[in-house]
Structure formats: structure tokens, C-alpha cells
């Protein structure tokens, strides 16, 4: 039986309509037409605007209230297509593929002047983008100069969400088993050296899946892929003439739409095709055992402060979507002009709807929330003890198996590493892991006690939450690359055109003896060793490791620690380095394989520092140059730990014993080795003091240590032994 509500009841200028369905919000393909639904608490008038794709002028504007004709009798009738605060209408016989849509709204307050504060910012002459638009046109091809005379810049499109996933399943990899690879979609393959068919796109990542597999990562975390405007605040660098862009994209235009300019199919102007391309990437990653996490920006939008432009939310319901001062200025906890009003019930629902949509329609496995501390602020900006949004996300049924990761701080001074409201679900980017590890690696005194916490999964921060609350990282997109961390004492952001004033100054970096590139072979060798030290310790730490793309082959940004604006080889990976620095790639992939091999490194609970299985060894024990005697003194730069293999189950038996000796001193030290039980012997898994290929050995092929009672750990080196 056909539903009887699939027929129009009204018409307007020849377009057939009926009262729509309020749920779901947005534009939805329904039998016979498109259903439109949009919320505004304060709007007094609303018009649906339809364009032919790319047209400057609409072909029809349909008011949600006014005089219409009855279908059949053509009798005039007054109608109000609104329920509560939702305007909704179904329009029949329009081709979803060839139209773009907008809204115009009017409401109280009069027209706010640009730059002036205002509680409401209604302007009935502005075309407004639907906050629920599933595809957004206007920036279809990355970097193509927009037509600025176009009154409707970011254009709502309608798509079909009917991708055929076949039998593809979500990997649902246990959190403790993840090795995350943080990636910028464009920068990963944009450089011609990537050798892919469509550089800089979703589809290009698909071509690189064999590489990701050989590296051994099992989760890619994509930097923002929600539609953003790469031309936002774009400008020419006065010295170099380079066009500086919003390359990173931490500035959302629509929370439901993928960035069309990241799709090889973006040029088609076909939103469904762009969605298909991204879904196809997710499907193939899943089929290869790799999860997909999105870096999502819900703390602010691209609309800026009172000087910014009205794209969507401001003109729909400014006071609902943003945290405003009593005078009508935008609070700026994000450091970017405005703050999304995340704990307003309407906005909270929108965030939840968006995440559910990405999880359900795109099969996304997890989310990393940019400046997530903002998500815990109330409608007046104050931090809350029990933020409803964070609780709702933690308990949501559709997000029930998604990983939730917080960047647990914001630009308003709220720092919640270790104290982010977790509800048993939330993990955190562990900023203290990064800072502590950097200090230790460069040989700062007074760091071994801190490092002991970090390699155990930071029980000082997450004891009640387990090791998987800690995302361990030493580098991420924000700050130095790993190569730059060991090559520069200070940042070099001159190319950003802000007199090197932007970017952090607390880098805890060390250049090893010369600033930047050098021919000095000793310094070069030291830098490679430091890189290997970093990844060796990270892969041997409890918690969830995250690598920045390109660190595995020494990608450098020439000392720039804030490369958000460079769509140039400065940011793009140079794949030739994967060959010239093949030893680094090999070392990374070896250390990742080592981690996957040993469950003792991937515990869910923190080590107890006690023997709870009767092996005679504590699950973790601490050592130094003398076995069983760690040097915790302020000037100690040596530390070793032993993981007892009998505290972990591997393939029905026990794991190997694992001994990690770290020497960040500038002199060699002989480490006395703790004795092994049974007839186990020490074998060498990694020794960063050795040149490649003796720097690491495949799991199962580790050679016996020549001396079973002590091991010489070179200056600024890390040694990993396995006992079996």
C-alpha cells in the first residue's frame, strides 16, 4: 500500500507542497519529493529558497507561511507550515541532484551592524545554509578562487544516503590495541611524489592502504573533514607572495557535510558522489582492518565574532547557537572568535545528531574532539561538573562502540588533562605524556619519576579509568614534527606572516647542536637516534600510541610549529623521503609490530607494581644501571623497566618478558640486567645506538644478547630486550 501522505495538498507558484515532517531536521529525500525541516526559536518568518545548482538567483522562494492554493480546487488557503519552533514543508517533483537550497529568516532585533554586538542577528536578505545540510557546494575544488560576488557562498545540497556497504563490518578494535596515525587528508598525498591518481583526496588515501598496512597502524585519525572554507582569512604573505590559507580546516561550516574539496569527485558538484567516495574509503580501510577516527570541531564555527560573516547559525538563531555576553558579544573560549553553545539543549541535540549520522552513515569508528573542554562549559561559559553533552555522548546507543577522545583543554584556560568528565568512556590526548617525554628525551634532569608514570599509562592521571584513557603522543599536527623536534631549539614560523609570534613557545625541543639542517654527521646521527628513542618508548608505553603522519620518514616543516596556513610542500608529505629514510620507516614499522606482538604492552589496567600471578616478578619492576635499583635522584637520566610476561596472556600462553632500558644521558652506561626465570634468555629486540639494520629485529627473530648479565646502553639510546 502506498502511503496516502505522498500526495501534495498545496501549491505555490506551480510547485506542489504539503505540510512536512519535523523529523529529521534538514533536507530528506521522501517519496515524491524532498522534505525540509529547520529549527529556529526566535525567527518570526521563514522562506525556503531553491536554486538550480550554481545559479546566483533562486528559481523559486517558498514561504512557510502565507497564502497557497489547494491542489485540485485551486482554492486560496492560508497556511502556516510550522510546528512549535520548527518550519517544515515537503516539496514535490524537484530533482534532488540538480537543486541547492537555502533559507531566509526574519526575527526580532532589527538588522545588526557588522562589528556591533547583538543578541539576534536576523537579516531577511541573507541566504542561510541549513545547519543539517548533508552536502555543501561552493568550494567544490580545493583552492579554486570563489566568485565573491555570489551572495550564497556555501550552498546546501541534498544527497542520497544509500551507500552499499555489502558485508563490510566495523573492525571494533579494542582501544588498547589501537595504533593511531594522525593524517591531514590533503597533505598526505598532495605532493606529486605520492604517485597517486588523484593527489590530495579521499580516494588517494585508498591507494595508500598497502603502505598503512605495512607500517602497521590500525587507525587513521583524519584532521577536520567537515566542510570548511580554505579561503577563510586567506591572505598573501607580503614577503614571499605565498597564498596563506585555512589549510588545516579547524573552522566548521557544516557539521554534517564532508569537505567537497577533499574529494576527487568534488568537481562533479554531486554531493552524493562525494559522500560515496568517502564511504568507499572507509569501507576499504575497514576491510583492511583499519579504523577511521574523525577530528571534529564542535567548539566554534566559521562565522567568527561580531565582525564575521553570517553563513548559517547566526542568521537562524544567534542566541541559541552561540555563547554570548550579556551585551551580545561572542565569548571566545576557542580563540577563534566565537564559542558554540554546546550545552544548550538544541545545540546538544545537533551535535549528537551529527555524530550519530557519521557513525551510522559513514561507519566512523571514533571521534577526537578539538578543544573539548568547551563541550563541558555551560550556557554562560562556566565549566560544569556534570556536562549533559558529554554524558549524552558517553551513553548514546548509536555511539555505543565509538571511541571518544577529548583534547581536554580550551583556549579559555580550562585544562582538564586527567580530570575530563569521562563517564567510563572518554579518553584524552595526554598532553602530559607529550611534555614529559620531550623533556626526558632531551636529557632534562628531574624527569625519571614522571616518565615512570607515563610509560605505565599515566596512573597518576587515569588510575580509575585505565590505560586506554591515555592517548600517548609526542607529536601531533599542532607543533613540531618529530624531525623538527630534534632539529630545532625554537620555532621558525616566519612564513606564517605573523613575525613568528604565532605558535607555542613551550616546545621542549632540542636541535642536537645546530639549528635546522646540518651536514654534521654526528648531529644527523643523533637526531635519527632521538627519533628512534621517541618511537621506541612510545610503542613500549601502556596506553594508546598516536603517530603524526610523516614522522616515520622524517617529515620536516622547516621548524614551523604552526603550519595551519600552508598548502605547500612545507605541509605536504614528501614520499621520496620514505625511500631516502627507509631505515626510519623500517624502524617505525618494526616497533609497531613489536607492540602488536606483545599483549604485556597493551594492558587495559595500569600495572600494579606487584606480583599478582605468583611468578616471582611484579607486573612491572624498575631498574637502572643496577638491576632492581632504579635511580630516582634528581639528576638521574637512566631508567629501565621490566614487564613480567606471565602477567599477560598471549596465544593461550604467557608473553615474553620485556625489558626497556632508557639512557638519555650524554654518556654510555652499562645496565645490569635483571635475571630471568625458567630457562629464558635475553634477546635483542631494539637498540637505537646501532646503525640500521642492527637497530631492530623482527618479532621472533631477535638475536641472543651476547652478555646475559649486563648490556651497554649507548649515550642517548634506548634498548629493548625480550626474555623467552
Amino acid at each position: 500500500m502506498e502511503r496516502i501522505d505522498t500526495y501534495p495538498t498545496h501549491s505555490f507558484e506551480g510547485y506542489k507542497l504539503r505540510f512536512g515532517r519535523p523529523s529529521p531536521f534538514g533536507a530528506t529525500v521522501v517519496p515524491g519529493g524532498i522534505n525540509f525541516s529547520i529549527f529556529s526559536r526566535n525567527a518570526t518568518y521563514c522562506v525556503l529558497v531553491l536554486f538550480e545548482k550554481g545559479a546566483k538567483k533562486p528559481f523559486v522562494e517558498i514561504p512557510f507561511r502565507g497564502m497557497f492554493e489547494k491542489v485540485g480546487t485551486r482554492e486560496p488557503v492560508w497556511s502556516d507550515f510550522r510546528i512549535g519552533n520548527v518550519w517544515t514543508i515537503t516539496v514535490f517533483d524537484i530533482d534532488y541532484e540538480s537543486v541547492e537550497y537555502a533559507f531566509r529568516m526574519d526575527g526580532p532585533g532589527g538588522k545588526a551592524q557588522r562589528g556591533a554586538p547583538a543578541y539576534h542577528r536576523f537579516d531577511p536578505t541573507t541566504f542561510l545554509l541549513d545547519p543539517y545540510a548533508k552536502a555543501i557546494g561552493g568550494r567544490d575544488v580545493w583552492g579554486k578562487q570563489p566568485d565573491w560576488s555570489e551572495p550564497y557562498q556555501h550552498r546546501g545540497r541534498i544527497i542520497y544516503d544509500d551507500f552499499d556497504w555489502e558485508s563490510s563490518t566495523r573492525p571494533e578494535i579494542p582501544m588498547e590495541d589501537l595504533v593511531i596515525y594522525e593524517m591531514h587528508v590533503r597533505g598526505f598525498t598532495r605532493d606529486p611524489s605520492s604517485g597517486v591518481r588523484h593527489p590530495g583526496t579521499f580516494s588517494a588515501i585508498r591507494e595508500k592502504i598497502p603502505y598503512l598496512k605495512s607500517l602497521g597502524v590500525n587507525c587513521v585519525e583524519l584532521m577536520p573533514i567537515y566542510e570548511f572554507d580554505e579561503f577563510e582569512n586567506s591572505r598573501l604573505n607580503e614577503e614571499t607572495g605565498e597564498l596563506l590559507m585555512n589549510y588545516w580546516g579547524y573552522s566548521t561550516i557544516g557539521f554534517f557535510a564532508p569537505k567537497a574539496g577533499f574529494a576527487a569527485t568534488g568537481k562533479s558538484g554531486d554531493g552524493t558522489m562525494v559522500a560515496d567516495e568517502l564511504k568507499s574509503l572507509v569501507k576499504e580501510l575497514h576491510d583492511n582492518g583499519i579504523e577511521v577516527m574523525l577530528d571534529v570541531v564542535f567548539n566554534h564555527t566559521a562565522e567568527g565574532n561580531e565582525h564575521g560573516s553570517t553563513i548559517s547559525f547566526r542568521g537562524i538563531d544567534n542566541s541559541t547557537y552561540y555563547i554570548l555576553t550579556p551585551d551580545g558579544y561572542y565569548y571566545n573560549f576557542s580563540g577563534t572568535g566565537n564559542t558554540l553553545n554546546c550545552n544548550n539543549p538544541i545545540v546538544r541535540s545537533m551535535v549528537l545528531d551529527a555524530l550519530r549520522y557519521w557513525a551510522a552513515e559513514y561507519h566512523i569508528d571514533g571521534f577526537r574532539f578539538d578543544l573539548a573542554a568547551i563541550l563541558g562549559r555551560d550556557q554562560w561559559g562556566a565549566p560544569m561538573a556534570n556536562p549533559p553533552l558529554l554524558e549524552a555522548l558517553a551513553y548514546d546507543p548509536i555511539l555505543g562502540k565509538c571511541k571518544l577522545i577529548a583534547e581536554a583543554w580550551d583556549a579559555g584556560g580550562l585544562y582538564q588533562v586527567g580530570s575530563f568528565p569521562a563517564y567510563g568512556r572518554w579518553a584524552e590526548w595526554n598532553g602530559k605524556y607529550r611534555d614529559g617525554m620531550r623533556k626526558f628525551l632531551k636529557g632534562e634532569p628531574g624527569t625519571v619519576g614522571d616518565i615512570a608514570q607515563r610509560v605505565q599509562g599515566s596512573p597518576d592521571l587515569y588510575l580509575a579509568r585505565g590505560t586506554t584513557a591515555s592517548i600517548n603522543f609526542i607529536t601531533c599536527h599542532d607543533g613540531f614534527t618529530l624531525m623538527d623536534l630534534v632539529s630545532y631549539d625554537g620555532k621558525h614560523n616566519e612564513a606564517n606572516g605573523e613575525n613568528n609570534n604565532d605558535g607555542g613557545n613551550d616546545n621542549d625541543s632540542w636541535n642536537g647542536g645546530a639549528e635546522g639542517p646540518t651536514d654534521n654527521p654526528e648531529i644527523r646521527a643523533l637526531r635519527r637516534r632521538q627519533i628512534k628513542n621517541a618511537v621506541t618508548i612510545m610503542m613500549a608505553s601502556q596506553g594508546v600510541p598516536m603517530i603524526l603522519m610523516g614522522d616515520e620518514f622524517g617529515h620536516s616543516q622547516s621548524g614551523n610549529n604552526n603550519a595551519y596556513c600552508h598548502d605547500t610542500p612545507l605541509s605536504w608529505l614528501d614520499w621520496a623521503q620514505a625511500e631516502t629514510n627507509e631505515d626510519l620507516v623500517r624502524f617505525f614499522s618494526n616497533r609497531i609490530a613489536f607492540r602488536h606482538e606483545h599483549p604485556a604492552l597493551r594492558r587495559r589496567e595500569h600495572p600494579t607494581n606487584r606480583d599478582i600471578v605468583g611468578s616471582g616478578y611484579a607486573d612491572i619492576s624498575w631498574h637502572g644501571t643496577r638491576a632492581w635499583n632504579a635511580d630516582w635522584s634528581p639528576f638521574s637520566r637512566t631508567l629501565a623497566f621490566l614487564l613480567c610476561g606471565k602477567h599477560a596472556v598471549r596465544r593461550g600462553g604467557s608473553d615474553d618478558y620485556i625489558y626497556v632500558a632508557m639512557n638519555t644521558h650524554w654518556e654510555d652506561h652499562e645496565f645490569e640486567l635483571p635475571g630471568l626465570p625458567d630457562s629464558r634468555q635475553w634477546r635483542v629486540s631494539a637498540n637505537t645506538a646501532m646503525p640500521s639494520p642492527e637497530d631492530c629485529f623482527d618479532p621472533g627473530a631477535e638475536p641472543l644478547a651476547a652478555n646475559q648479565s649486563s648490556f651497554l646502553v649507548g649515550a642517548r639510546s634506548v634498548v629493548v630486550l625480550v626474555g623467552r
Partner: protein, 110 residues
């Protein structure tokens, strides 16, 4: 959109000329579906198609699914390089047998 259907012995040859988009895809599907009977052999010739939108790709997949349900056979030919590339990028390509010529397609259907 021009749809030309001819019988090449037991093979139904459907030649499409024009773009397959949101407007024409339903027309094509309407013309093709009656041809999909049990054991039918269908040769969809895109030789005259320069552009295919996401609705066009969906038309292909719907046809493929119907063919599967009827235990029929489907082969594509005349697929422009750009369309083949789009099918690959969007995850549609692997469903289909694509032949470079009508003769090869007939052989594949035999």
C-alpha cells in the same frame, strides 16, 4: 536520453546515448527492468554516455541487484575512462564485468 534496445541472438543490447543523471536515470531503469527476466543476458552499452551522476551510478547498481535476484547476467561495455574512474573512486566498479567491445561482452555473456 536515447535508449536503443536491440537483440543480439539471446543478448539484449541496451545502448544509452546522453548523460545519465537524476532526470534520465529513472527513465533508463524503467526501460531496463522489464528486460531482466530469469537467465536473461543483458549488455548495457554506455558508448554514448559522457557523464554519469550519482543517480546514474545508482541506476547501474539497481540493475545489478535485479540481475542478481533473477539469476540473469549483466555486462557493461563502452564505459568511458572517466566514468570508470568515478565508478572506482565511489566503490561501484568492483560489482561489474566491463568489456572493451560489444563482441567481447557477448563472449562474456555466452
Amino acid at each position: 536520453m536515447e535508449i536503443t534496445i536491440t537483440s543480439l541472438s539471446d543478448v539484449q543490447h541496451v545502448l544509452l546515448t546522453g548523460d545519465v543523471d537524476g532526470k534520465s536515470a529513472p527513465e533508463v531503469l524503467e526501460a531496463v527492468l522489464p528486460l531482466i527476466t530469469p537467465q536473461a543476458k543483458l549488455l548495457l552499452d554506455l558508448g554514448g554516455v559522457a557523464y554519469m551522476s550519482s543517480a546514474g551510478l545508482r541506476m547501474l547498481l539497481s540493475t545489478f541487484r535485479q540481475v542478481g535476484m533473477q539469476n540473469a547476467k549483466l555486462v557493461l561495455t563502452g564505459v568511458a575512462e572517466e566514468i570508470r574512474d568515478t565508478m572506482s573512486i565511489t566503490g561501484f566498479l568492483h560489482h561489474f564485468t566491463i568489456c572493451d567491445s560489444v563482441e567481447a561482452a557477448q563472449a562474456a555473456l555466452a
